[in-house]
Symmetry: C2
Subunit: 270 residues, 2 copies
Amino acid sequence: MNFIEQLKHSSQLNRSLVCVGLDPDLGKLPECVRGEKYPLFAFNKAIVDATRDWAACYKPQAAYYAGQNADAELAMTIEYIHANSPDTPVILDVKRGDIGSTAAMYAREAFDRYGADAVTVNPYMGFDALQPFLERSDKGVFILCRTSNPHSGDLQNLVADGAPLFEHVAKLARDQWNANGNAALVVGATYPDELRRVRELCPTLPFLVPGVGAQGGDVGKVVRLGCDADGAGLVVNSSRGIIYASKGEDFAAAAGEAARKLRDQINSYR
Amino acid sequence: MNFIEQLKHSSQLNRSLVCVGLDPDLGKLPECVRGEKYPLFAFNKAIVDATRDWAACYKPQAAYYAGQNADAELAMTIEYIHANSPDTPVILDVKRGDIGSTAAMYAREAFDRYGADAVTVNPYMGFDALQPFLERSDKGVFILCRTSNPHSGDLQNLVADGAPLFEHVAKLARDQWNANGNAALVVGATYPDELRRVRELCPTLPFLVPGVGAQGGDVGKVVRLGCDADGAGLVVNSSRGIIYASKGEDFAAAAGEAARKLRDQINSYR
């Protein structure tokens, strides 16, 4: 089973299109876990235990571990998910992109060192920067297309040959970069018109949709405009909205409840 | 002294525009260092000792450390350079780019955890993905503009409003992203016409120029087309051409000689 099938399977098992973003910032964690030897891992472990029935996948953001000198806790987190929730795949959010020989090292980092099932990548450098990821046909590769952040249009909305840059990326992913059937796209929730357009262009590619919750995207629009013909084909990421649902000792229960609510909210529009 | 001044100072001290790329691949290292407890660091240390009189700066490529589970050796390498060659700044090649809160974590990784003096970043996500780096005004931020790899034109050469995408990046860097005077560009040696064009657009921004040596770029063209009005304003990166100049026990001496030769070759065109 490759990643795309894995994700479909886990979505069906939990009837869920929720991606739980594991972006723990030590300064924002509940007091009760800060004293742990591995506080980020202790936090993640509790979040995973509380959300695994409502999640289609998990997405640790590599920067939070790299920036807090916590590489070991990232490895422990992914290992824990695989051991305790084996049907739920892990997307490691790294947004890498570099020349071939370097990208091959980044593929080793994500897939071999950390055991991720999928990654996010940046298309600015073109095909050979993505190839070492794409050629791992069992793994998923989410290519940044239209991102959710305020200045994402600086480049992504520049119009070339009558189409904005992000549409070129969508077409390249569809026509040239998907030889192994493992390409997917990152399309933000905060720009619903663009989300609809990318779905028109790519009826069958899976989408990772960040930007609901703290960033302001509308869940109903995401589902109506972003799902494929089967009412699936995407996962909606929520990080802060789930992991910081409560900052007290009940943080895990609150995260579980937030994940379940988001799942049900998404399903109500499908 | 901010990074841009530091780089100018070190270039003048060693009369050098050479950036030594520290991309050690364990499988390619000389037998004599593979048995060390910290083989990548032992290798880098010998390379730094042998090249420090001929280098304007060093550029460790983060992927080689991340992919080989050698984060500690990256930290040791940068610390060693700062302690033993204090005038020579370190560019950490990470090519990061993510939403603001995440980019802030990556800035912590590069500047606080590893103590780098500058980084490379990816502009695909726009200004807010670069801001946490740019606001560290003492640090340098090399923005990918026209990269050296074979498929770099997939997106970078798409023409919007009469100009290819990489020219838009050059203009954004010049006009909007350089408020702190610490923006710089990555422009590959393998596309000399584009290098000339970016220098026309940005007469004073510093360039990091990869792509000579193994990638085939022409040193003479790089210097003639890429230097600023003072015959400076760029550093030419060489990684494999220097660090693998010999694979025997004389690897360090050979690296020193290769760095000196590249320095002299560059200077002969200035």
